[in-house]
Amino acid sequence: EPEVTQTPSHQVTQMGQEVILRCVPISNHLYFYWYRQILGQKVEFLVSFYNNEISEKSEIFDDQFSVERPDGSNFTLKIRSTKLEDSAMYFCASSESNTGELFFGEGSRLTVL
């Protein structure tokens, strides 16, 4: 069964460092998303991406964040100058259309020290 894969599963970084979280969406999907979940809290939308551009972003997704689809398979989230409050689980998701079921990866746990 096709699945969304995310790497790394866990990253520990020092405050102020840059991190890149990687995702390989399901191959025939066209819409890609990043969500985050601070421990024990709700799942928050960050950004959606379609046709090589951002289609929607939340207030959380400020200039510290960027997304890229550098090749035909990877979808990355870059977080510049990380802060303690960026510590969270980051989930990538993809879908065939812009309405309907999202397929989520297992997440990348980011710990900022």
């Binding site: 709700k42 939308f45 309405t99 309907g100």
Partner: protein, 111 residues
């Protein structure tokens, strides 16, 4: 953007009992979805109900949607210990691009 809000926050039942979780939201939607999350894992889609549907079934799951009250319920019948997880409702508003998740209901099913 709006978000679904689940109720109760936590629910503890015994195997074999039914579990009911509720979700309320604020503005018009295209559809409402329910997802499950095992501890520390990714979210798994359970069921989607469109705004013109009132009830939907999938196995032991039954979802209802009342657009006039802006609310939905998820019923899990004959629960099993393996149903222990967090359950989230997610609404797709009319702009269509993003799903907005609630805070989830934590379900514990004891043998």
């Amino acid at each position: 953007s709006q978000q679904g809000e689940e109720d109760p926050q936590a629910l503890s039942i015994q195997e074999g009992e039914n579990a009911t979780m509720n979700c309320s939201y604020k503005t018009s939607i295209n559809n409402l979805q329910w997802y499950r999350q095992n501890s520390g894992r990714g979210l798994v889609h359970l069921i989607l109900i469109r705004s013109n549907e009132r009830e939907k079934h999938s196995g032991r799951l039954r979802v209802t949607l009342d657009t006039s009250k802006k609310s939905s319920s998820l019923l899990i019948t004959a629960s099993r210990a393996a149903d222990t997880a967090s359950y989230f409702c997610a609404t797709e508003d009319l702009s269509g691009y993003a799903l907005n998740f609630g805070k989830g209901t934590s379900l514990l099913v004891t043998p």
